[in-house]
């Protein structure tokens, strides 16, 4: 490469992307932190420095704690199940099962369908009296239940939707990884008299570990991002039982227009993502350097 140009060329190549990244990712992240120490400007009253007041408010805000713990449960409830299902799906559609192509499509459709559109359909499934679930439980002679109207079941119902949405997407990554495992390994294992399960446990699963780490990080991030179905189906209710952090930020920022409190809430969300990032870069990437 031309020596005199090589020092400036990469910066020119990076300039457009970096400008936008700074404008819509780095700057707003820093600005959010800064604004969380100020009050929300209202009409003639400009924002004033209030120190940690927003955070003190947050510590005493039962809705915040509800959304926070909901989010932890949401992550804990959706991630292991969707990863396990994704592996199972990938194994099945990688195998020579009847209608493999159709099955792949079936598992993958939730990823392609807009969450907001299917959320309406899920809403119908959960509707009391005449919804699909009610018709099924009714046929089995079980009592009627308002899944989304009951604080005890609403979060679980939302988790089911999230699992349904995510498992097929993660399946693609597992499928790609499975197809890179040499078929020779399966043959060798077969000759040794290994069962299908032993082959999975001793060969396939360990080889899928890098994929699992990759998917796990994505699933963690998604569990803090995925709120479309909450907006459509429950609006965080009843009694905030299905509110998640990002949904609460949306509510505070755009329904109550309290931008500084929303900023403080966002800082908490960023801190959560920061922890995930730290774990990823410091621990996981020691093994897989991007070189």
């Amino acid at each position: 490469m031309n020596r005199t140009h090589s020092s400036i060329t990469p910066w020119l190549l990076l300039l457009p992307a970096m400008t936008l990244l700074v404008a819509f990712t780095h700057y707003p992240a820093v600005a959010t932190f800064w604004h969380s120490f100020f009050s929300t400007p209202k009409g003639a009253n400009p924002a004033v420095f209030v120190g940690l007041e927003n955070y003190a408010l947050m510590a005493d805000d039962p809705v915040f704690w509800r959304a926070f713990t909901n989010n932890l449960w949401f992550a804990l409830g959706t991630i292991p199940v969707s990863i396990a299902l994704a592996i199972l799906m990938a194994l099945w559609v990688n195998d020579r099962l009847m209608g493999r192509g159709l099955l792949r499509l079936a598992y993958f459709t939730p990823t392609v369908l807009p969450m907001i559109a299917v959320a309406n359909i899920w809403l119908f499934f959960y509707t009391p009296q005449y919804g699909l679930l009610e018709q099924l439980t009714g046929a089995l002679g079980l009592p009627s239940h308002n899944w989304l109207g009951n604080p005890n079941t609403v979060l679980g119902a939302m988790m089911v939707v999230a699992i349904w949405k995510e498992a097929g997407f993660f399946m693609i990554f597992y499928l790609a990884a499975l197809q890179q495992i040499s078929p020779v390994l399966a043959e060798a294992a077969g000759l040794e008299g290994a069962s299908r399960w032993q082959y999975f446990r001793m060969v396939q699963f360990p080889l899928l570990m890098p994929t699992t780490l990759f998917v796990l990080i994505n699933a963690l991030i998604n569990s803090f991002r995925l709120v479309d179905h909450i907006v459509v189906m429950t609006k965080g209710g009843p009694d905030n039982a299905s509110s998640l952090l990002l949904y609460y930020i949306y509510e505070v920022g755009f329904a109550f227009w309290d931008s500084s409190y929303a900023a403080a809430l966002t800082v908490v969300l960023l801190a959560m993502l920061g922890v995930i990032a730290f774990v990823k870069f410091r621990i996981l990437d020691r093994r897989t350097h991007y070189q």
Binding site: L14, F24, W92, V93, T109, I116, Q179, L191, V227, V231
Partner: protein
């Protein structure tokens, strides 16, 4: 795809596995199957499943008339095309810089890029809304797309791919007197075609389906994409009309479903080659 021709594990219970796979498959298809059923039958059969129910296309006509769908389709189409074009160009340039140039601060810059994999613009909705307000862009299609123009995922994918291009190829081109941009366009870009397709499909489906940010930043028919339009229209009616909603759902998702059907094979293979495992 490698077809598995033999089963090295002897006779296992294939029937049971196929059955379970299909039960799960049907469960996964259930919302779509329900949407198809309801959309093609009169409203009174939306919650009553009977084999003798007459078929109809009226729900689609009603849905089409109930909201400015042509406008929403156009908006979404413009949005998705704009984002994809910008992402491709910006990610290509940035990935090339990271893959083939040695410069001070490249590691720091790359870390700054990767940060976006964690902190997506969707999370910084309040600040980004303020920025759009300041720029006077609120309620425009551009404002929905702008935060996503620089895609860390795209930069990362292309950088990984560009790194696999043999050095000899671009040294040969340099000797021939080609400029950095010419080398990029004539050597690197053509070799990364499968990655562009995979990334394109992911980007299109993400932004076709994106909801929260467009919901916040738009408030008029002229800029609303399909997702937001669908929501506005399904929440205005008192009492939900499931037939019309499912018809609208099918209309809005059909292009993506078709695209996936057509590109399914290429899609999976691209992921394999991209080496994101």
């Amino acid at each position: 795809m490698i077809p598995q021709t033999s089963n090295p594990f002897g006779e296992r219970n294939r029937t049971l596995e196929t059955l379970s796979a299909w039960v799960l498959g049907l469960l996964w298809l259930l919302p779509l199957l329900y949407a198809i059923w309801t959309a093609f039958h009169p409203a009174e059969f939306a919650t009553r499943f009977s084999l003798t129910a007459p078929l109809t296309l009226k729900n689609f006509a009603n849905a089409w008339d109930a909201a400015p769908f042509p406008r929403y389709f156009l908006n979404t189409f413009l949005l998705v095309t704009m984002i994809l074009a910008a992402q491709m160009v910006l990610a290509t340039l940035a990935a090339y810089a990271f893959a083939r140039f040695e410069f001070r601060g490249s590691n720091l810059m790359f870390m700054l890029v990767l940060l976006q994999l964690m902190v997506m613009p969707d999370i910084l909705i309040v600040e980004n809304y303020n920025t759009m307000n300041l720029l006077g862009l609120r309620d425009t299609i551009l404002s929905i797309g702008l935060p996503y123009f620089a895609s860390a995922f795209g930069i990362f994918l292309l950088r990984q791919t560009f790194k696999t291009v043999p050095r000899e190829l671009d040294e040969a081109a340099t000797v021939e007197g080609a400029s950095a941009l010419q080398i990029l366009m004539q050597v690197y870009v053509p070799l990364a075609k499968p990655i562009y397709i995979a990334f394109g499909l992911v980007s299109i489906s993400t932004h076709w389906n994106n909801f929260l940010w467009p919901l916040i930043v738009t408030n008029s028919v002229e800029s609303r994409p399909l997702t937001v339009g669908l929501q506005v229209f399904s929440s205005t009616d008192q009492g939900v009309d499931w037939s019309i909603i499912t018809a609208a759902t099918l209309m809005t998702s059909a292009p993506l479903l078709l695209a996936f059907l057509l590109f399914q094979r290429q899609f999976v293979q691209s992921f394999m080659r991209a080496g994101i495992r």
